[in-house]
């Protein structure tokens, strides 16, 4: 009677052939090794790069493959195949255009983002929501805030540049979304009127926002010194700093020229800032790239690169910076290796 169990065990040891399996095809490393290295080749704009909390990926926006909606993607910092993407292809939303903002992914895989849905043919969003999702299950999500809301007496309808500051807290640039035409025959323009930097706290029922005192009306902002300092600009010349908990802003440095600043990114006490302008060989339009050292309040012009660049992301190691080329028609992300000495 003990024979059969023994034979069963023996048979189990033999094992079975497994069916074929398929795994996602991935490209490792950048497509070309040129300088700068092109990371994206999308037919439309790839923009608003943001580093994940663990520094292991770059979140960015791209245009969805099938319906033109904006999607969020996650790229390896050094380039390659998107490791993850969020495109709302659910049928319920098929009659609406979707856009996203303020993506922030922490090391637990929690994804914070804003979605804006506009019925096809409508200009302004009908519904704007701040969501908290698991990046593995992006549509099993929790609505934290439905915009617009009143924060300390000010209206807020949009967030951008969100960054996690703790397991249940984040910081972001808040403003009012404005969709209008500058003139009767002008094209529709979407702008954000900056209100301030807000601190968000996630609660069981949603999230609360409060303005960080001293960081009002930021055109650009970044967290520095391990999240303890907010570096921001109210104008296009003065770089200010304020404790992340709020306080009186102090001047870090003044840029030598006044021109549109298109982004700032910090790592520790060093920041990279992009400002349109400057001349390059051949007389074309250029973008100045500055290094700002918070420890010494120093500003250094690193280089002026041809074209219009924005949204720098200082990667966690080395001097590599990811930036978005904003020159039509190539609005892609590029990697500048060793830009920071």
């Amino acid at each position: 009677m003990r024979l059969i169990p023994a034979l069963l065990l023996l048979a189990a040891a033999c094992g079975h052939s497994e069916p074929y399996t398929t795994a996602p095809t991935q490209n490792d490393g950048p497509f070309s090794a040129g300088a700068p290295t092109r990371l994206t080749f999308g037919s439309s704009t790839d923009s608003a790069a943001a580093l994940t909390s663990d520094g292991q990926g770059v979140l960015y926006f791209f245009t969805g493959f099938t319906n033109g909606d904006r999607c969020i993607g996650l790229l390896p910092p050094g380039g390659g195949t998107r490791r993850w993407e969020l495109c709302d292809t659910r049928f319920e939303a098929a009659d609406s255009g979707k856009s996203y903002s303020a993506p922030a992914l922490n090391s637990d895989g929690q994804l914070l983002y804003i979605s804006a849905l506009a019925r096809r043919g409508r200009d302004a969003p009908d519904r704007t929501t701040l969501w908290l999702a698991d990046s593995a299950l992006p549509f099993q999500r929790r609505a934290l805030i439905s915009f617009p809301i009143n924060v300390g007496g000010q209206g807020v309808s949009w967030l951008s540049d969100a960054q996690w500051t703790g397991p249940e807290s984040f910081i972001a640039r808040a403003g009012l979304l404005n969709v209008q035409r500058a003139c009767p025959n002008c094209t529709l323009d979407t702008t954000v009127v900056p209100a301030g930097v807000v601190r968000g706290t996630i609660t069981p029922t949603g999230a609360t926002l409060s303005f960080v005192p001293g960081a009002e009306s930021p055109e650009v902002m970044a967290l520095a010194e391990n999240g303890g300092v907010i570096v921001f600009m109210r104008s296009f010349t003065e770089v200010l700093r304020v404790p992340a908990t709020g306080g009186t802003p102090t001047l870090v440095a003044a840029l030598p020229t006044s021109a549109r600043v298109t982004g700032i990114s910090c790592r520790g006490s060093e920041c990279v800032l992009t400002q349109l302008g400057g001349t390059v060989a051949g007389g074309g339009e250029g973008t100045r790239i500055y290094r700002i050292r918070l420890a010494t309040n120093a500003v250094d012009l690193l280089t002026t690169v041809a074209g219009r660049w924005a949204g720098p992301v200082l990667l966690p190691t080395g001097g590599d910076v990811v930036m978005q080329a904003s020159t039509t028609p190539t609005r892609d992300l590029y990697l500048f290796k060793g830009l920071l000495p």
Partner: protein
Amino acid sequence: MRYLCLFALTLGAAAPAAAQSSGGLVGKVVDAATGTPLRGAEIRIDAGARAAITDTAGEYRIRGLTAGPHTVTVAFVGYRPSRREGVIVRVGEITRADVRMAPVAVELATLTAVGVQDPVLDPLAPSTVQRISAEDLRRLPVSSLEDALGLQAGVVGESYRGGRIGQQAFILDGLGVKNQLDASTGGSGLRIPPDLIADASLITNGFSARYGQAISGLVSVSTRDGGDRWRGRMAYETDRPMSGRSDLGLDRVVFQADGPIAGRITAVGILDFSARLDAEPVSAPAPSDPRDPRSTAPSPLPHNSGEVMTAGGKLTIPMGTRVITRLFGLGTREQRYLYDQRYKYDAELGPGRRVDGTLASAHVQLLPSANSRRPISGDLRLGYFSRDFVRGAVTSPDYKFGAFTGSKLEVQGEELARRQDTLAARQALPGFDTPTFSDRTPYGVPAFFLGNATQGELAFNTFSELRSQLDFTAMLSDKVDLGFGGLHAAQDVKTFQRVFAYRPVGGIVPPATASAFSPSISALYAESQVRLSDIAVTAGVRYDAFSPGGSLDNRTLQARSSVNPRIAVSTVLSGATIVASIGKFSQPPDLQFLVDAAFDDTTRTGRFRQGNPDLGFEQSTQFELSARVRLREAVSLRVNVFNKRLEGLVSSAPINVNPDSSVFVNADIGNVSGAEVILERERRNGWGMRMAAVLQRAEATVTDAFQLLRLTEVDIVNGDTVRAARSQWPLDYDRRLAFTATVDGELPASSGPRILGIRPFERLTGAAVLRYGSGLPYTRTNITGDSLVGEINGSRLPSQFTVDLLLRRPVRFGGFAGGVYLDVRNVLNRANQLAVRRESGTPNANDATIAKLAETAYLANPQAIPYESPRYRRAADTNNDGVVSGRAELYPLYEAAARDFTQPLFVYGAPRLIRFGMEVLF
């Protein structure tokens, strides 16, 4: 390693079991010297389990014997006791065993029973019966009742004599068991373990008026009773020692035991669990494109596993000398993960299906009085049968052992389906997401293959039936038998279907359909057999009634009824038994045709199919002439010629001119005619053989909604209809020629050389089955699929041919008897084609079809694929610019994807299947 396993697995043990069930034994006891009938002789069956005394004519009658071999002993004062073993009693039949007894003082060589009724020549048996004994199930390369039935003449798959699937009745221990809801598309949900079967029969002609609900045939199965001592069998089957395409992940474990539990009460219990990683293997060739994962691993297919778990038990409770009660229970759960070519690269998103079948029955058998001159026997049967079906989105299986998951397959949304909440189902169902084109394919392009989410299918139905059945058989005289009885079955049906569950209802998304109603069927019958010398006339009439119940369609529906006379005349002419029979048969339509249904099948019945509660019986009138003759003592020949007229077959008809909707009606008529020749050599001297050849033509009108709309063709010049919408075409199972041969034998104990003290061929048994079938019909269409080419079912598939083999050798281990066996199906690994593409007539799509599919897909999504996209394939980026763009780079990917997508899989039959088995008797 695998061959070590093979060697190791070739160790085990085996055993059959005696077959038993219900039939009768009659005979006459005479003085061997004078021929004088002996009154008062005592007939004992199986050492006195049953007994009878001969009457003044020397006759005895014993009814209610379990089918199978019995030992008959006859004793009478002054005479030498007579004993004969192995007298076979067949289910539902009377076997005749006359006995010549010799006085004690007289030495007589032939002292044993003689004249056991020949089942071949018996003129009293009007049915055309093909039997499957427990011995057959053990000796032949079959592992299920369905396999064994497939060897019989007139059977094509689950179609009998050209009929549609489900047009046959299934009788288990005399009780009708049928999934009346969707027999044409789903089985009963019950799997009868072969170890539980004592005897099975396939009856294809005008059989007894006792049976209804069948217009194509009758399958009758008798299960075994417990024996008078405890015994059992454990078996394990696997294909683990094999590798590559021969390892389909099979594991099967069987445990069966029976014996007495208290007094004369006996019990039988069985567990039969099997699982296979590829539950529906195909012999489709490996594709040549190296990017296709099937090119190197053509099988097993992923997400195509299945488990079948059956548990059953039976209690036999003798109550006094004339009453036996049997309690029987059987439950089967079959759960399948279903490979879907659309999800080839995201296989885990394929659908799943779970079917639960349950049967609980009680049978009270009244045996006739042993000394009655007018013996009457009766059977009261009560049965509860249910079948529960659910199909839809499932989570990936978590295998525990082989393909065994050890858990219930859960279908997403099942709870809502069971609630039949059609209101909530108007919205997109929670948890369902929209499928998108897969980005995991080797081609990257968004075409054909799906990912991200399931298809959003949710289907549920349940059918249950409480059946009571009463049957009496009376022997009015030596020449006249009378049977009568009736049944009533109260049924309960619930259905629910939802498609595109990730979308709210509207547009192309039809509303969820649901139904809940309680139909019933009832029947009365009377049948008599009159025997006049060598002529027997069997005549009967059956009244069938069927009511859909009052809750369907919100109106009172009339019951339908049908009177079905049947008559058979049998006699013996020149040593051959000739039987002519004619009978009318009715069966209620599948209940699924009475209710609305939602589908995603635009090419056949549309997305919405309207039920018709007014459907009536499907009917047939069958005529058969058969001749049975013994060519030699052990060799018999049977020839059956039959004609079956079909009427009122359910078919779908279009609603107006909308091909996307249809309604069911009793519209089709047809005709099946043919001849069967069966040559059989009984198992004697270690071997037996059987050959069956069938010539058949099965045709009917085919008023299919899809085909009707496209078939009618009017001459544009004179306005004449050049192709009518309604005429007879071959039925789907119109196999014109079929041939089956089985041969089996056993080597004697001293066979072969002795090697290391062992004779490897000692008592080795072997069986081979050869099958040939001419091609089944199919309909050609043009490349777009919207026009027929030629007639409906006007083309033929290639013929099919298989050879199966079973080798078994008894082995003893310690105190256990047992055996090991090797079962090989489709030994030649022939790739039989079960279907072809309608537009090409071959399994593969032709270049034009692929080009059309590729072009359509490319035009739908001509977008460039950037480097960072998961869809980017560097090899396709021929100009190396980081973007796969333009027709030159994109179209070849679409074409390769189309070729992959259209590769034929399930159009091929099973490949060579090898299983090793071991069994231990205890």
